[in-house]
């Protein structure tokens, strides 16, 4: 709480500075506001958002982007966005889950301003939301890990064990087992999306238990990738596809969000007056998710397998097609059924091959 107050104050000040005076002659074609919950230099979630917005800016001449980092998921975010509207923003990207209600309040008060929220569900004529469909996209990451591991032990650091995160772990393990039936995934939960000291300790603990590849679902992969590299363990990244540079020698691949095309289309629709609110969820091959470049250690045959798996997912392959058994032997998804869409939030069990407790 105390942290968020200060972060909010900084964010508000920065938002004002970022705007600056605008000369009358170069009136922007569209002013877009964006708020981030953290720093855009995190090699993670916020970096991916920033990259998407920058791509949108490059695609649309004269577009002006107003940004604010470290905006807490509190009423403070409403004030920051309100400030952006005062500066002429006609489209606002509220990029963290907890910004939803505050963006929605503003959408009702400003029917002429359009809002896109990342990860939520609320809808209004001027309020849509979007997110990457991550779970199935983790399957090719598992393929990469299953082929690359020598110890048959994979480590997965999870910030908070929400259903979607558990689904990521499950698809990862299923991908690994599809190419290596002996591959197991050990899970450590740190209890927060950004507790660096615990993330480092969790990565070390997984390596102590034999993991030679570590991956994660936390806000920023930086600490875990570096902790793994310090013990000669490989890493698979998540959130931003730029994380390879943290430890190039120990980088296998990663899964990242690519929001640029969607953001560009949304901005164009606002300019054309054709904005349509929708709940957009896209996975691999659909625009919002991509596989990061491979590291130098990954041989050609593994690259081919991973790319093929990613293509299969892009063409509609769903790993959660029954029968799927949990790690206590209970059939959770019977033969003939499949989980998809909103059911990805319902996981409170790990699939066979995962060592860990979900609840």
């Amino acid at each position: 709480m105390r942290r968020s107050i200060i972060a909010a104050a900084c964010a508000a000040i920065l938002a004002v500075f970022a705007a600056g005076p605008v000369a009358a002659q170069d009136k922007p074609s569209l002013t877009v506001g964006a708020i981030y919950v953290g720093s855009v230099n995190d090699y993670g979630y916020n970096r991916a958002m920033k990259d998407g917005l920058e791509e949108m800016k490059r695609n649309i001449p004269g577009l002006k982007l107003i940004e604010a980092e470290n905006v807490p998921e509190s009423a403070e975010s409403e004030r920051v966005m309100e400030g952006m509207i005062q500066q002429g923003a006609k489209l606002i990207f509220a990029t963290s889950f907890g910004h939803q209600q505050f963006a929605f309040n503003l959408a009702k008060a400003h029917p002429d301003v359009y809002f896109e929220h990342a990860g939520g569900w609320m809808q209004a004529p001027n309020f849509g939301n979007f997110f990457g469909a991550t779970q199935a996209a983790w399957y090719p990451m598992g393929v990469a890990a299953g082929k690359m591991t020598k110890s048959n032990t994979l480590g997965f650091v999870v910030g908070v064990p929400i259903g979607y995160a558990i689904g990521n772990v499950n698809a990862f393990e299923m991908g690994a087992r599809s190419v290596n039936p002996a591959a197991q995934t050990r899970v450590v939960v740190t209890g927060g999306w950004s507790d660096k000291a615990k993330e480092a300790a969790a990565a070390n603990a997984l390596i102590d238990q034999g993991a030679d590849i570590v991956t994660m679902h936390v806000d920023s992969p930086a600490t875990i990738i570096q902790a793994a590299a310090s013990r000669n363990a490989y890493a698979i990244g998540f959130q931003s596809i730029e994380a390879a540079q943290l430890a190039p020698k120990f980088w296998i691949t990663g899964l990242g969000f690519t929001w640029g095309p969607f953001m560009t289309e949304t901005a164009k629709s606002v300019m054309a007056g054709t904005f349509k609110p929708a709940m957009v969820r896209q996975g691999l091959g659909q625009g919002m998710m991509a596989v990061a470049p491979f590291g130098e250690a990954v041989p050609a045959d593994v690259r081919t397998l991973v790319t093929a798996a990613a293509d299969r997912v892009g063409q509609g392959f769903n790993p959660f097609t029954g029968p799927v058994t949990d790690n206590t032997g209970v059939v959770r998804i019977p033969a003939g059924q499949a989980w998809g869409g909103e059911q990805m939030g319902n996981f409170d069990w790990y699939v066979e091959g995962v060592i860990g407790k979900a609840k």
């Binding site: 105390r2 942290r3 200060i6 972060a7 104050a9 900084c10 953290g38 720093s39 230099n41 995190d42 090699y43 970096r47 470290n70 480590g155 064990p161 050990r186 899970v187 450590v188 939960v189 740190t190 209890g191 927060g192 950004s194 507790d195 660096k196 000291a197 615990k198 993330e199 480092a200 300790a201 969790a202 070390n204 603990a205 997984l206 102590d208 238990q209 034999g210 993991a211 920023s220 930086a222 600490t223 570096q226 902790a227 310090s230 013990r231 000669n232 540079q245 943290l246 060592i355 860990g356 407790k357 609840k359």
Partner: protein, 304 residues
């Protein structure tokens, strides 16, 4: 219990206990002078941010640690001015210092988020096979190796030197110290400078050695755990070693047990260090009266 698990628990306890130990030692010296500093969390954050920033700029983690020590001392001198010279309420001033530290560290660290540093090098005991259990147990950065001597030195300072006698007297009765020719304010300034140096180093260990990252609020309450550890340690630096290992171990232990596949809910696992803190405070509560410096938290307003 497999050997890798035990080695991991011990190494994890040492690694995360190190910053706790430095912070606790600093707080002990301050409290021995009668000053409670609830701003320790802020001091650690300032140390973590400035240590990381200087490491990123200079390329030298040692310069980073030195900068963290200086920054911690400087911030604590502000606190000393407020509570010693201006005689402000220590609890209120300490909390203000914490907020100040959170804000200042965010400001210092901001341009360096995402910077890549090579942190304090691990110095392994020679002759151990890399990747083996021995190497895991005996491969730490220099701040870890210096933590124990620092604890011993602090103990010696408090209990075996003339300055330590003055320090303890000031903490028990500033008036008596004053009557004996000691200037309580001077001793308190010195004690808080020392505490600031150690608090800054504690923070730097987290950013420059443990995680190689700067993130806002990254100490995540460890400054407050260190304040609780002072009580656990009964204001004695030697007990602080045990306390820091115990609490560092509690955090590492639950992560290790999760990795080893223990059949316990991760939600319960993540509560263990805090449950332990509560338990220790309950068990140790009755002893506090006898061990705490008598004038702790009181403002010395001179003698009539």
């Amino acid at each position: 219990m497999n050997p890798a698990l035990i080695a991991g628990i011990v190494a994890g306890a040492v690694m995360s206990g190190t910053s706790l130990l430095y912070a606790t030692l600093g707080e002990i010296v301050g409290e021995r002078a009668g000053i409670v500093n609830l701003g320790l969390e802020g001091i650690m954050l300032i140390g973590a941010a400035s240590g990381f920033a200087v490491t990123a700029l200079s390329g030298s983690p040692y310069l980073g640690v030195a900068a963290a020590a200086i920054a911690g001392a400087a911030a604590n001198l502000i606190f000393a001015y407020v509570v010693v010279s201006r005689r402000a309420n220590q609890l209120a001033a300490g909390l203000s210092l914490m907020f100040f530290g959170i804000g200042l560290s965010a400001l210092i660290g901001r341009p360096f988020v995402g910077a890549l540093i090579s942190g304090l090098p691990r110095l392994a005991v020679p002759g151990l096979a890399p990747g083996g259990i021995g190497a895991r147990l005996l491969s730490y950065d220099s701040l870890v190796y210096l933590a124990l001597p620092t604890a011993l030195l602090t103990w010696w300072l408090i209990f075996r030197t003339r300055w330590g006698l003055s320090l303890r007297t000031v903490g028990e009765s500033p008036a008596a110290a004053f009557a004996a020719g000691v200037r309580p304010e001077l001793v308190q300034y010195q004690a808080l400078t020392f505490a600031g140096v150690l608090g800054g180093i504690a923070g730097a260990h987290m950013s420059v050695a443990l995680t190689l990252t700067w993130a806002e609020g990254m100490t995540a309450g460890r400054g407050f755990i260190a304040i609780a550890l002072v009580i656990f340690a009964k204001w004695n630096p030697l007990w602080a070693i045990a306390g820091a290992l115990l609490f560092g171990g509690a955090e590492g232990l639950q992560l290790q047990l999760q990795a080893a596949g223990a059949d316990v809910s991760p939600f319960i696992m993540n509560m263990t260090p805090y449950l332990l803190t509560l338990l220790v405070l309950i068990l140790w509560g009755w002893r506090r009266q006898s061990a705490a410096p008598a004038a702790l938290g009181r403002t010395f307003v001179g003698v009539e």
